[in-house]
């Protein structure tokens, strides 16, 4: 098997055993990027020199005989919404073309401290707004399973890279499903930690009360390893939680015997593809066989989660994106007669259509006369959704459903209708509003396209989500499927 196709755990062992070097491993992945990168467009910037320098440092550390950290020498991809010092960071937008951050995001610092190797910045929907990566200001990403199809979004580049072998693992961000949904569409594992579990310092903000950074990996153990490295309070992020971080690998294989798993009836939505529904119901049977008790539950306010999200997220985004005026960084339009005109032109030219729509929607929702009816109302609905989850988790340990109602759709299929595009996130959005965590794991293929199973656990109980996900992964072989771009699996 090619090195680039292996898991973090396997590679960590091989590095620790001196079977391979990090430089060798990194070259293998860089080689795969060269080979298929022009087909996926998973990356906006490949940081070859940085990666090899870090790989050499990792090899030095390993050679010195120090106990090798799990991520040391492992090449990973970073979604372009996270700042890496002196590395071009665009958030997938033209308005940040050429921006070189003078600082590192906390997540980046923690990964660097662990000895990880940064392959580059992955493509994403502009400012993380989108469900197909077609809103990238640069170019869309193509799904390694079928290059005419979308990989999902907004972390489409990160998910595609993991699925194509262009990264061993990746970091993405999830505001309404942007890690879980692309993970589902690319047959990878993707987790949205509880809001506050991972620092947002250095994450280019989309919706401040919803954004979370999380891992995209090939299997559940890798996901636990990556989460372990980045989780934990950060004094630079006042919204990061002081909740202690457990050992996520501890108890990972404990299984689900005796656990209670709830199936929200509202998650079988209109428009769900039959193959997706079938795969999820099959998964329920697997869990039953494994000894879990399955029961139907209700999250009665699920149907208002999407509308609430499409007020809260755009409202916060409209404010977060006000700083992009071309004066201190990013692209400036030039040509305005005065400053106000200049701002207008810079933002008109620098932002794509979806970003503009959301800025306008958010501005409208916050504007005089509409605040109570929109924003305040949506925040109250958020309370209802939080309470729905609390009530459900009094009865069950985890919730199960599909991640996305459909498999990967063709490029261009939904770009004309924003609302149709928004519906891709209908089952992922509640977890962002609800103060809980969620993970997507592969649970089948439909016509060769991956289907994702979503497991939701209570807030700050990521270890439960991981354990439930791992049980399914161990009992099935869906996670062994590889995209055509990966080449033949071992």
């Amino acid at each position: 098997m090619n090195l680039f196709a292996r898991s973090i755990r396997e590679l960590h062992q091989m590095l620790a055993d001196h079977e391979i070097s990090s430089v060798e491993l990194t070259e293998s992945v860089l080689g795969q990027i060269d080979a298929v990168g022009r087909q996926t467009h998973a990356y906006l910037a490949v940081t070859r020199d940085l990666a090899l320098r870090q790989a050499r440092d990792a090899d030095d550390r390993i050679r010195e005989g120090a106990r090798v950290r799990p991520l040391t020498g492992i090449p990973i991809a970073i979604k372009d919404v996270l700042c890496i010092e002196d590395v071009p960071t665009t958030a997938g937008s033209k308005i940040l073309d050429g921006f070189l951050p003078p600082y590192n995001a906390t997540v980046v610092e923690r990964l660097a401290k662990e000895g990880a190797v940064f392959l580059g910045k992955t493509n994403c929907d502009e400012f993380a707004m989108g469900s197909s990566n077609e809103n990238s200001g640069y170019r869309p990403v193509h799904n390694p399973w079928d290059l005419d199809r979308v990989p999902g979004g907004s972390s489409g580049g990160s998910a595609a890279a993991v699925a194509s072998g262009e990264a061993i693992a990746a970091v993405g961000s999830d505001t309404g499903g942007s890690i879980r949904q692309p993970a589902a569409l690319t047959g990878t594992v993707g987790m949205k930690p509880t809001y506050g579990r991972v620092s947002r310092y250095g994450l280019i903000a989309f919706a401040s009360s919803l954004d979370q950074v999380g891992p995209i990996t090939r299997d559940v153990a890798d996901c636990a390893i990556l989460l372990q490295a980045i989780a934990g309070a950060d004094p630079r992020d006042s919204t990061s939680s002081l909740h202690p971080v457990p050992d996520y690998l501890d108890g990972l294989d404990a299984g689900v015997h005796g656990m209670r798993i709830g199936v929200p009836k509202e998650y079988f939505v209109n428009g769900m593809e039959p193959a997706v529904e079938k795969a999820v119901r099959n998964a329920l049977e697997v869990y039953q066989r494994l000894g879990a008790a399955i029961e139907e539950v209700s999250l009665p306010h699920s149907d208002v989660a999407l509308p609430a999200y499409y007020i809260i997220a755009p409202a916060e985004a409209s404010s977060n994106l006000a700083r992009y005026d071309g004066a201190r960084y990013g692209a400036q339009a030039g040509g305005g007669h005065n400053l106000i005109e200049e701002y207008g032109l810079t933002r008109q030219q620098g932002f794509g259509a979806e970003v503009k729509r959301r800025i306008m929607l958010g501005t409208y929702a916050l504007s005089s006369g509409y605040y109570d009816a929109f924003y305040l109302k949506a925040q109250k609905v958020r309370t209802l959704i939080i309470e729905d989850f609390k009530r459900a988790f009094e009865k069950v340990d985890a919730l199960l459903g599909a991640t996305s109602p459909t498999v990967a759709f063709p490029l261009g299929a939904k770009t004309q209708d924003p609302v149709a595009m928004y519906l891709n996130d209908i089952i992922t959005i509640p977890a962002n509003l609800g103060n809980v965590c969620g993970i997507s794991v592969p649970c089948g293929l439909a016509n060769g396209l991956p289907i994702g199973l979503q497991i939701i656990a209570p807030g700050f109980r990521e270890e439960v989500a991981l354990r439930v996900a791992r049980a399914f992964e161990a009992a099935t072989d869906f996670n062994r499927a590889r995209s055509p771009l990966m080449g033949t699996a071992a």
Binding site: T239, L321, R323
Partner: protein, 482 residues
């Protein structure tokens, strides 16, 4: 005097920076006046993508302290909000401020105008971040540009809003002076209006006497001193009166005070009303202001100006007026008390400080802490006069020298060395010499003209180069002229 058919209504909005080491939401230094442009910036106060604010605890405590000094209520729950608008000195495109749940509300400030006590309500004191500074550059021929310095962006700023309770320019000036003194006393602000550390805007309107509704409100900005506040408000009162008397209507607008020309000028109104779209700051968890925390802050409050003034009256027997002036600024009050502590009699010290010292300072628009004269210098000078070593006139001369010198020491030392001539032998000689040289004045004095004695004493002082003891001289002259 303005015709009294209108009632003047003035409310003041004061912005006061807080003297912290670091900025409101990041660790950059607040010492922005000395620093080169943009040298005190970081991802947070530059508003770089991905940056996040973290609240400075000391700024919160300073705000609560100020609120307590202004007798405000401190609610148990408070939060920050985003105020969204675009301006080049506002890097994030929003200011983190407070909207509907500020740290404090419903307080008051007491003051006195010409001996008449007054009180102005305080609507709220809240906390926010300051903006950067803009310079305007460019020649007239080419497109003008603005230069942005973000050193000041993010400095903690309190906004103190008064109720529209003030009725005259005098009251407004007095309010600001008192407020400034309080802020100095509690150590949150030095009161420097010229540097922009303390800023004041006024809302001025007129309404017919007896009317319940408020008239059209005009906002007045750019008043950088107490005098400017007074002049600007007086100007506005006259201007608004003329408009209303002429049957015109006033525009609700913002006007800038032009100190050089002595008038307010309409600032071009915006094309459209700004809508700040306030919403709770999602990057900052809210604050629970426990009663225990408030008590801890309250117990650490220093003696406030009003209490100090009362104490100076009762402890030192000063007049209410003198005590009031002495406590109008913390450095002034401290100078006085230290001088007394070192041994000077209170009333004498007060007279010196409020008299000559203040005269010199005011002429140069300086504050007492700007002078090289320290309490020990004044106390020693006073001691020389009291012991008779030098005359009062000599002391005044010496003080003037001390004031203008870079170091007051030498002049004081010189005065110490100069002994007043009290010995009769030397004095007698001088007196006889003066009598001999001024026959007419001697005759006049004999004839009953008291001024002649004064003249003779003056001549004797001249002869002795100011060193003669005047009381002795008087006695000697009376003795010898009979």
């Amino acid at each position: 005097m303005i015709a009294t058919k209108y009632e003047v209504v003035v409310g003041l909005e004061v912005h006061a920076q807080i003297k912290t080491e670091s900025k409101m939401f990041c660790s950059c230094s607040t010492d922005y006046l000395a620093a080169p442009p943009n040298a005190n910036t970081c991802p947070v106060c530059l508003g770089l993508p991905g940056s996040l604010p973290v609240i400075n605890r000391k700024a919160v405590e300073a705000t609560i302290r100020t609120a307590l000094a202004l007798h405000c209520e401190i609610p148990e729950f408070s939060k920050f909000d985003r105020k969204n608008y675009f301006y080049p000195d506002l890097p994030k495109g929003y200011q983190i401020s407070q909207y509907d749940l500020p740290f404090s509300r419903n307080g008051y400030l007491e003051f006195e105008v010409k001996g008449e006590p007054g009180r102005c309500g305080i609507t709220r004191v809240h906390l926010e971040e300051d903006t950067g500074k803009l310079l305007h550059a460019g020649a007239i021929e080419e497109a003008q540009s603005s230069l942005i310095n973000l050193n000041r962006a993010g400095v903690p700023l309190m906004e103190i809003v008064s109720e529209p309770d003030l009725r005259t320019a005098d009251e407004a000036r007095e309010y600001v002076m008192r407020l400034r003194a309080i802020l100095q006393y509690i150590g949150v602000n030095d009161g420097n209006m010229e540097s922009g550390q303390l800023r004041c805007d006024a809302n001025v309107s007129l309404r017919p006497v007896g009317a319940k509704e408020f008239g059209t409100k005009v906002e007045v900005k750019n008043m950088n001193s107490f005098r400017a506040i007074h002049r600007a408000i007086e100007y506005e009162i006259v201007r608004q009166t003329e408009v209303l008397d002429g049957g015109g209507r006033l525009k609700q607008e913002t006007r800038g005070w032009n100190d050089a020309r002595g008038l307010t000028v309409s600032q071009r109104s915006k094309e459209f009303a700004e809508d700040y779209r306030y919403f709770p700051e999602p990057d900052l968890p809210p604050l629970e202001v426990s009663r225990a925390w408030v008590e801890k802050i309250r117990s650490a409050l220093p003696e406030l100006p009003a209490a100090r003034r009362d104490r100076l009256v009762s402890q030192f027997g000063l007049s209410a007026y003198d005590a009031s002036v002495l406590t109008s600024s913390k450095p002034l009050a401290e100078f006085f008390e230290e001088t007394v502590r070192l041994g000077a009699p209170a009333k004498t010290a007060a007279n010196w400080i409020l008299g000559d010292f203040s005269r010199f300072l005011n002429a140069e628009h300086k504050e007492i802490q700007d002078s090289g004269i320290r309490p020990q210098h004044l106390q020693q000078l006073v001691g020389l006069v009291d012991s008779g070593a030098i005359s009062g006139k000599m002391a005044k001369q010496t003080f003037e020298e001390m004031y203008h010198a870079a170091d007051p020491g030498p002049a004081l030392e010189a005065a110490k060395r100069t002994q007043q001539i009290s010995g009769d032998t030397e004095l007698e000689g001088i007196v006889e010499q003066v009598i001999a040289q001024n026959e007419k004045s001697v005759a006049d004095f004999k004839a009953g003209k008291q001024q002649a004695l004064m003249f003779l004493i003056g001549q004797a002082m001249k002869l002795s180069r100011g060193r003669a003891n005047p009381e002795r001289l008087t006695a000697l002259f009376r003795e010898k002229i009979t």
